[in-house]
């Protein structure tokens, strides 16, 4: 059976944009920028965003009430997974840094190191905690966060607090309070 651009989502759902073009127009940019926070690489961010849309097309979720949240969850799952795999390379990257490469301005290096530390800590958190912090930093409200991650809206504040504490605890353990 051939599939069309129209996703096979329940049509009874009100206000659900079932058209792939409309979904792309609505969410691609935001999703890609969110995933950039995890990958730090524009090409990777676009790759994972595209993969999330592909999965949406390929295996449309049964519950079509929150496609945006589904896209965020899928994209974050892919990119956090990637980040975890990348951690293994960190040791070797450090060596590369010692042995070669054009010297960067000190400030740029500092910024890159800071970003790398944040990503390392995110990769070590529970995926849902990392996702909460990332979505929150991307500007989602508590209500949007709850919808995106299928959480009870009443618990979002508490869960976010725990995620923040877990992040800080892990960060300080690894790098100290003042970085």
């Amino acid at each position: 059976m051939e599939r069309s651009n129209q996703l096979s989502l329940p049509t009874s759902m009100p206000n659900v944009a079932c058209d792939l073009d409309a979904l792309f127009a609505a969410y691609y940019r935001r999703l890609t920028r969110l995933l950039y926070r995890v990958t730090g690489d524009t090409a990777r961010a676009e790759e994972f965003a595209a993969e999330a849309f592909w999965r949406l097309y390929d295996k449309a979720p049964r519950d079509a009430t929150n496609i945006e949240g589904w896209l965020y969850r899928t994209g974050l799952h892919l990119s956090l997974d990637y980040l975890k795999k990348e951690r293994r390379r960190a040791r070797y990257e450090a060596l590369t840094f010692l042995f070669g490469g054009a010297p960067n301005p000190h400030q740029a290096i500092e910024q890159q190191e800071k970003q790398a530390r944040v990503r390392q800590v995110l990769a070590s958190l529970k995926p849902v905690q990392a996702a909460m912090l990332l979505l929150r930093s991307e500007g989602l409200s508590y209500a949007e966060l709850a919808a995106a991650l299928n959480l009870n809206p009443a618990s979002v504040g508490a869960l976010l607090a725990r995620a923040g504490q877990a992040f800080k605890k892990e960060y300080v353990k690894r790098y100290g309070e003042q970085d």
Partner: protein, 350 residues
């Protein structure tokens, strides 16, 4: 556990998370991504296979007919698996007999009829544009290439080679090759088997001197549980390759996923393996004197067609040497005037 975040902690976390923000001036290219998604969707729908290759067009037409039959449609809905192939196994045999039955891209002479040609692709304005359109950064040789900037052309959409398996025809082709001990699973009947290359970039230097075609690894798709070793082995035997050799090659292709590229047995080519810095490569040379000498095609469609159809058509002035090799994220086909030039250029690609 504390449920409200300490404002200092909140600020502390926010500050660090803010460092991850995407650059303000970066704008993800939604239209390009959408186009690629369309391409990927098309790859999943073989009836939309490209029309520029006559054989594929015919297969696509057959698919449309087959998809209309419910029993066959059910078979095509099985779960699929994908495997990406960085390697290309080049084999000489009677592959021309396999057209429309076995999916084996071939290098051989073939003239397309008028109207088969796809519209020409304009060259990319510059390297950055080529990289953006292709979705990957093309790599170029630092040595061995003529000292001019190459003309870059991009094929952003997927190239799809696809066929619907017909067990009766497969068995008949084996019989014609004198093979009677190679059973074909009956459940293969009606399943779609395809090879896809997502995007490609061609670079040509001084027409006729050097040509580099690079593309993303080849994706092979087939229904879950499909025994690819049996398929390759049977295809090779149908092309006249002896049993032991076919089995060895098929097993190697399963262990290190590779695409099979056939060259007609009567085509005067020498095929050998050479070692590049990045690993083994296949070097294909035309034996004897060349009769041609015209300009090498610069149009990407023409070039791609030539690579898989008649790259060595001497009357049209094809290259003397073709070097094929793969790395983790890329497959290269480099055509040059001599083996030495090709190897020097290939070793300087990073």
């Amino acid at each position: 556990m504390e449920n409200k975040i300490n404002p200092d902690t909140e600020r502390w976390v926010e500050e660090r998370m803010a460092s991850l923000a995407a650059p303000d001036d970066w704008e993800p290219d939604a239209s390009l991504a959408r186009m690629r998604l369309n391409g990927r969707m098309s790859a999943r729908r073989p009836t939309f296979a490209r029309v520029w290759l006559l054989r594929v067009a015919i297969v696509a037409l057959v698919l449309v007919m087959i998809f209309a039959i419910p029993t066959t449609r059910a078979l095509t809905q099985q779960l699929w698996w994908w495997v990406t192939m960085q390697k290309v196994e080049v084999v000489q045999g009677d592959f021309q007999k396999l057209d429309g039955i076995w999916l084996v891209p071939q290098m051989r002479e073939k003239k397309l009829k008028e109207g088969d040609e796809a519209p020409p692709m304009p060259p990319a304005v510059d390297f950055t544009e080529a990289a953006r359109s292709a979705g990957f950064t093309p790599r170029l040789p630092r040595e061995g290439a003529p000292p001019v900037d190459p003309v870059l052309r991009v094929l952003p959409g997927p190239m799809v080679w696809s066929t619907t398996l017909n067990v009766a025809k497969m068995e008949e082709s084996l019989r014609q090759a004198g093979v009677t001990d190679q059973p074909i699973p009956k459940e293969w009947d009606g399943v779609v088997f395809s090879l896809t290359v997502r995007s490609a970039v061609s670079s040509s230097w001084n027409p006729g001197e050097m040509f580099l075609f690079q593309h993303t690894p080849i994706a092979l798709s087939a229904p879950a549980g499909f025994d690819i070793t049996v398929y390759w082995m049977a295809a090779l035997r149908a092309a006249g390759i002896p049993r032991e050799q076919a089995q060895r090659l098929a097993e190697r292709m399963r262990a290190t996923p590779a695409m099979l590229l056939g060259i007609a047995a009567d085509n005067k080519k020498s095929i050998r393996e050479v070692n590049l810095r990045s690993g083994p490569a296949t070097l294909i040379e035309t034996r004897g004197e060349r009769r041609g000498g015209g300009p090498y095609p610069t149009d990407v469609w023409e070039s791609i067609r030539r690579f898989f159809v008649d790259i060595f058509d001497e009357r049209k002035g094809g290259g003397n040497v073709l070097l094929i090799w793969g790395v983790e994220d890329r497959v290269y086909h480099l055509s040059a005037k001599s083996a030495e030039q090709a190897i020097i250029a290939a070793n300087s690609i990073e």
